[in-house]
Every structure is written in C-alpha cells, then in structure tokens.
C-alpha cells in the first residue's frame, strides 16, 4: 500500500480510531500519533457528564490499554506539539525540534473552546470544558462552588448545568439566543429542554448577553448582563462553541475556512494530507453546504473512512450524522442534519417525556430528535443510511404511530 509512514496529528477519538482501523485493515506501514496532551487517548463524552459527578474515574476513560499501542506497532508521541508541516519535505516539525517524516498525513487536530471577549474573563473561577485537565479542574471547582453560572445554552453548557443541579448547586444559565440549543435542534425540542431545566430548578435566562465579569481579589463574583441584570456567582463555565484548530494547516497553505477544507474523500488540497473529526469541513450528502461536525460519530466514522481509503477501499464519506446528550436524566438523541427542516411533526407524548420530533424538508424526512425514544432514533439512522424515504409526515402525525412497525429494508 503506497501510503508510506502515516503520521496523525492529534490523539483524540478520530486519531486513535484512524490508527486502530488502519491496523485492523492490515495496514503495515509505521503509524505515529502526535498529541499535545500528555494523557493517552481518552473518551470525551463523559467529561461533561459522569466524570464530573465522579461516577466515572480517569482509568475508565482510557480508550485502549497501553499494551494496545505496543502490540499494534503504533507509536504515540504524547505531550508533543507540532509546530510546522513541511509538505515539500514530507515531514512535521515538533516543538522539541525533532522531525517526523510522513508519506501520508492525517490532521485530527480537533477544536478548542471559544473564549468570550468580555472584561473579567481572565478572573479565577472562569473556566471552559474541552479536555481532561479542564474536566478535572471543573470537577474540583464544583465541590467548592456556591453559585454556578453557565454561559451558553448548548450541549456542553446544559450538560454541566444538569450535573451541577444534580449536585444540589444553584445554577443560572445565560443564553444569548431566544431558545436553548438553537443552532442544533428544532424549536419543539428547545422548548421541552427549557421546561425540563426549569423544572429541575435551574434559572434559565434567554436573550441575555454577558457583558462583563467583576471580581473580588482576583476571583469572579458577579456577572453583568446586557439588560442591566446581575448574577452573583463564584464559578463561571463558558460553553459558547468551539473553533477548529486550523493554524497548522493554514501555515502550510492548505485550504481552510472555518475548518480544514476537504473533499468527499476527506482529502485536503494536498493529496497526501487528510483531515478528520472536529477540524474538517466536508461536503455532506445530508446537507446543502459543506459542514463541520463536532461529534464522536463524525470523528469515528471519518477515521474509518480514511483508513478504508488508505487500505485500498476508496469510498466517499456519507455516514449519517448523529448526536446525543444527557440532561436532567433524559436521553436526547438526534439523527440526521435537521437544522434546515421546514416541517416538524411530533410522535409520542411530550407530557410523558417520551417523544420524537420528525423533521422534514421538501416533504422528505431529514432526521429525528428523540427524547427517551431511542428506537425512533436508531430506526431513523437505518432509514437514512439505506436511502429510504421514511414515513410521510401525515402518517407520523396520526395518533398511535409507531416507527418500530414501519418497514425498514433488511441489511
């Protein structure tokens, strides 16, 4: 296989899965993972959920045992940063000044939390949540916290709010938009989540922007909002989105634009360089324009797609996007890209907290959002993957509709 040595920049889900899948498919060239964090590849989803509560410890986060890398001949360089990609020479330069040559380079550089541009953001007690050390810091901070302020009503912010309420803390969520998870889900699901969080005792302030944080003795004490309101707090968690790590790619003059731009095969503007996971912007058959997805599914499936390409089974990336979140003890799962839907139909019971929102665009099912209805989620993923039309909106709207009785093409 003419890939030459494979160097993967990153050591998160996408990076690990790419390395593991290359070996599983019989790839024999040297593989090197270069990760800036010192921790071995670990699971990220628990960091905003069970890891914060202490239900899951660090040893349960490791994705593979140390022996795996040894036995599979995968070199890991952890705590190392790449400072430059030399495409002409086919090598990467590390901060330690070492060079690592590559035949094929995979960028799995991930994303970083967006920091707010407000005065006081540098006070003690102001944190973000992205990696294991962030999670460790937040887990400790929650123990001493008396009043938590979450800025941003998206996935991370709401999961943290939910955990903190479970620990009995007073929690305020400030969201600049008019609804929760506004960029990701239908207004029906937004409204349901708002009701859930409020019922748990979380104070949710919509259409409010943070303008400044004020502290005492270097520690955050008060948040000031754009309507003149003030929130007393001693711990502020920002969950206001993430930015793709594209600096290396841009310096190497690869095409970027809110992500490293790749083609349907996840290849960048250089035929020997691929980009996968949070950092990649790719054309999706499930969206009208190129997208960048920050999800475990996307990281894993893109890794497997590139591994297939590099081992001679070249396929465009077409996997169905799916996401999940756990909030207020509820399982919320999303299948497909629903953000551009023009009709939403609810099946199930909102009052009982078990329902799905079926989202349509031009009469075609583009995805579902399920609350404690995993069967709907799973079957939707199958339907979309198989290119099936799915049930018509009017059918879903009928009382007693059950997707489990809808025919799915056998695999």
């Amino acid at each position: 296989m003419g890939t030459g040595p494979v160097v993967i920049i990153g050591a998160g889900h996408a990076a690990l899965e790419a390395a593991a899948e290359l070996r599983a498919k019989g790839h024999t060239c040297p593989i090197t993972l270069i990760g800036a964090e010192t921790a071995p590849p670990y699971a990220r989803p628990p960091l905003s959920k069970s890891y914060l509560t202490g239900q899951v410890g660090p040893e349960e986060l490791w994705l593979r045992p140390e022996s795996f890398f040894r036995e599979q001949g995968i070199t890991t360089m952890l705590g190392e940063s790449v400072v430059e990609i030399d495409r002409e020479a086919g090598r990467v330069l590390l901060a330690s000044e070492a060079h690592v040559p590559y035949g094929t380079l995979i960028l799995a550089t991930g994303s970083r939390p967006r920091w707010p541009a407000v005065p006081g953001a540098d006070l003690e007690g102001v944190v973000v949540l992205r990696n294991l050390s962030d999670a460790e810091r937040l887990r400790c901070a929650l123990r001493d916290c008396r009043e938590l302020l979450v800025v941003g009503g998206g996935f991370i912010g709401l999961e943290v709010a939910s955990v903190a309420r479970g620990l009995g803390l007073p929690v305020t969520v400030v969201e600049s938009g008019s609804r929760l998870m506004g960029r990701s889900v239908s207004s029906t699901l937004s409204a349901h989540l708002l009701a859930l969080h409020r019922a748990e005792g979380t104070r949710v302030l919509l259409d409010r922007e943070l303008v400044a944080l004020r502290g005492e003795a270097g520690r955050v004490r008060v948040a000031e909002l754009n309507n003149g309101g003030r929130v007393v707090t001693d711990l502020v968690v920002f969950g206001i989105g993430a930015l793709p790590n594209t600096a290396l790619a841009s310096r190497a003059e690869l095409t970027t634009g809110d992500g490293v731009v790749v083609d349907r095969w996840l290849r960048t503007s250089d035929k020997n360089v691929y980009a996968i996971g949070d950092c990649a912007r790719f054309p999706s058959p499930h969206a009208a324009y190129p997208v960048r997805l920050e999800s475990l599914q996307n990281a894993s499936d893109q890794a497997r797609c590139v591994a297939a390409t590099l081992t001679g089974d070249r396929q465009p990336y077409t996997a169905i996007p799916w996401f999940w979140t756990e909030q207020c003890g509820v399982r919320v799962q999303m299948a497909g890209i629903t953000s551009f839907h023009d009709r939403a139909v609810v099946s199930g019971s909102r009052a009982e907290g078990r329902f799905s929102v079926f989202c349509y665009r031009d009469g075609r099912l583009v995805g579902t959002e399920s609350v404690n209805r995993s069967a709907d989620h799973m079957i939707t993923r199958r339907l979309l993957a198989d290119g099936m039309a799915g049930p018509a909106a009017d059918e879903v709207a009928r009382p007693g509709f059950d997707l489990r009785r809808h025919p799915v093409k056998p695999v």
Partner: protein
C-alpha cells in the same frame, strides 16, 4: 474476574479474562477483540457493541432496560431474541464462562 469467550463469524474465538468493574464491551476493547466497535463508549447510544448471547447460556444476565431494547431496533446486523448490547452487561464472577457471538457487522 470472569472468563469471556467472544466467538467470531469465521468460527474462531477469543477468550479473555476480564475484571470488574468492566463490561463485556470493554473487555473486548481492552483486549483488542475485533468485531465490537462501541462508538459511543458504552452509553447505550450507538448499537455498535451488539452481541448474541450463546443459545445455551444459563448464567444470570442483567435484565434489559428499555433504552437497550430500543437501541437494539437499529443494529446493523439482524436483531435476534439473544441480542444484547455488550456495554450493558457488567462483568462479575456471576458471568464467568459467558459465551457471546459477534455479529457479521456493527455498522
């Protein structure tokens, strides 16, 4: 500690010793047993750690929760009466000797 046997579709098998507090899924991942993907990491979200419990099993397994039952509606390989998500089966001495069959595909 429990001995778990993972039977592959090609007729071969991998036998590993798994310690608590792990699950049958994690036993496979920790020992590099092929055929279990476990994309979601064990949250009963993805359905890619699907296994078939051996027909002759007499060991006590935990009852299936509604969420697991729901997820099994969407597995890539056909669902059978013996289907389980291996991330929902904790390892303990009570399941020492468990035999699971891996499906042909997880995605």
């Amino acid at each position: 500690m429990a001995k778990i046997t993972y039977k592959h579709v090609d007729g071969t098998e991998t036998v590993v010793e798994v310690t608590a507090p792990n699950t049958v899924m994690r036993g496979a991942k920790l020992n590099d047993v092929e055929g279990i993907l476990a994309q979601c990491g064990g949250s009963a979200q993805c359905g890619t750690c699907h296994v078939y419990i051996d027909e002759g099993n007499v060991l006590p397994l935990p009852e299936m929760h509604e969420a697991e039952d729901d997820v099994l509606y969407g597995t890539a390989a056909e669902r059978r009466p013996t289907s389980r998500l291996s991330c929902q089966i904790p390892v303990s001495e009570a399941i020492d000797g468990l035999v699971v069959h891996l499906p042909a595909t997880q995605v």
